[in-house]
Amino acid sequence: MKTFDHVLTVASKEIREIVTNRGLVFSGVFFAGFLSVMNGLGLGDADVGLRAQLNNALFSTCALIAMFVGYLYAGQTYLREKQTGIAETLLCAPVSLRSIWFGKALGVMVPSWIIAILAAATITAIASRNAGQIMMPNSVLIVHLLVAVPLFILAAVALLGFAQLMLGMRENMVVNMVTIFVLFTALAGTQLIVKRAEFVTWGAVGLLVAASLALLAITAGLSRFLSRERIVRTIS
């Protein structure tokens, strides 16, 4: 129960920090807005119908946009607090490292997920305008957006946060560059598959949920290597 309280305390603090920070909200919304408008406008004009393209885009692009925003916020949540030395005082509190680590991941996930939903709405709105009729996402996509996407962001941010806590500043620069590279490659990759045959199925959603849970479990296992000494000694 105590652990649960700690996780919620850390998470709610991080959520508040993000949503009350104009710069962070702006950059997240701007980035997601830009990508979703580009994606929405790019739909149509292909062998498969607009419906299938929209479903494909909502499935893949939204998860990636969310991850991009999550990446942006994770740096503010884990790395910034570590680099500025604020984290050291937090490490003196009677809170387990896992509660801190997971609470922060949860705190990053919530605003990133909200922005992902907004991105989905934007893409859908643009597609509806193109089609001249309102296009509602089907039940598979609703479950995807409400279950798989948040789990996916949570797992990705938890892994990134773990690395940021565990590694020194120079290694973290490498991690950041690799993350950005992977994200851009994946975004470019989705552009290629969005206009192919529809791949949004219950199976695909289930696969993403399973993969996210597995990643989360692996990172939770890895977090045993996290120690206060490790964090303190990699501050600078």
Binding site: E81, G85, I86, E88, T89, L90, C92, A93, R228
Partner: protein
């Protein structure tokens, strides 16, 4: 060397290395015992190993060898031990984006403090920041941040308070305020306080006992008074008549050499150079001088400190 009072902190040959075995350890076989209710000063120049020691007490670092116990426990093993300790580190650990109230509230929740609003407001009042409770920490001066950090460090009524350079970077007025706050905490709340500092003045006023750390080793550890008295072979002679001091000085100079004497008004500080106090008194009295008092010479803490750390004291 067990005593009746309870030890809050005990270090046995506490050693910490950051590099390989070829490099000298940052902390080298430190032995220390801090008792309940003590205000203990830990002084030493920059790089002496003060912060490292504190991190070992907090379980933020593990000893390379030797051991440390806080309330009889190994730090870092149980989260509950941390709940009994309050900390103000060199970096106050405050987030510029949060308000004063939020900063304390966050920690209060993590420490499981009940009745938070009332307690936080009382503490903010105690450090003189109540009217600033809804302002962001980023707008605060260094002194205000330190006071806020101090308030935060005691929100859960810790039994032990660990402070790393609490008045570093503060102007004299803010230093005085922090010192008075600490004095109040130590006396009114009977907290055990451990202060890292290189402000000798502050330590001298606040602490009952001090340890002087230099290059990872404790060079002296005692009460302030005993450390000051530790100048063996030096006495202070006071004569009843001021003009006698001049004659006495001339006489002693002939006896012990000019370097052994320093005259301060009616008092003369004498380095005995192996001679004894009775010999000195006899010499003066036989010359018809009226000796009022002969006492061991007290040194200033600053002199004790600089004798130990040499030129690299860096005391401010």
């Amino acid at each position: 060397m067990q005593s009746d009072t309870a030890a809050v902190i005990e270090a046995f040959d506490l050693t910490k290395r950051f590099g390989g075995p070829a490099e000298p350890p940052v902390l080298d076989a430190v032995n220390l015992r801090v008792e309940q209710g003590e205000v203990f000063g830990y002084i030493g120049p920059n790089g002496a190993g003060k912060t490292t020691t504190l991190r070992l007490f907090l379980g933020l670092l593990r000893p390379s060898s030797g051991s440390v116990r806080v309330f009889g426990e190994i730090p870092g093993e149980r989260d509950e031990l941390r709940a009994r300790i309050g900390v103000l580190l060199e970096n106050s650990g405050l987030d510029d984006r949060m308000t004063a109230f939020q900063s304390i509230d966050y920690h209060a929740r993590l420490y499981g403090v009940g009745d938070r609003k009332r307690k936080i407001e009382r503490l903010l009042d105690f450090v003189g920041l109540l009217d600033k409770r809804n302002e962001r920490v980023g707008t605060f001066s260094t002194g205000m941040k330190r006071k806020l950090g101090l308030a935060r460090s005691i929100i859960h009524d810790p039994e032990l308070l660990l402070l790393d350079e609490p008045s570093a970077g503060l102007d004299p007025e803010a230093q005085k305020m922090v010192r008075e706050l600490l004095q109040e905490l130590a006396s009114a709340r009977r907290m055990t306080v451990f202060i890292n500092s290189h402000h000798l003045d502050e330590v001298e006023r606040l602490c009952s006992r001090i340890a002087i750390l230099h290059r990872g080793r404790i060079r002296a550890c005692d009460t302030v008074k005993s450390l000051q008295a530790g100048k063996r072979g030096h006495v202070r002679v006071r004569l009843s008549e001021p003009h006698h001091a001049v004659r006495a000085a001339a006489l002693l100079e002939g006896w012990l050499g000019p370097d052994a004497i320093s005259v301060q008004g009616p008092r003369i500080e004498v380095s005995l150079n192996g001679r004894t106090t009775p010999e000195l008194v006899r010499l003066l009295v036989e010359d018809g001088l009226s000796v009022e008092e002969v006492s061991p010479a007290l040194r200033r803490l600053e002199d004790v400190y600089f004798d130990i750390v040499g030129g690299e004291g860096g005391a401010a």
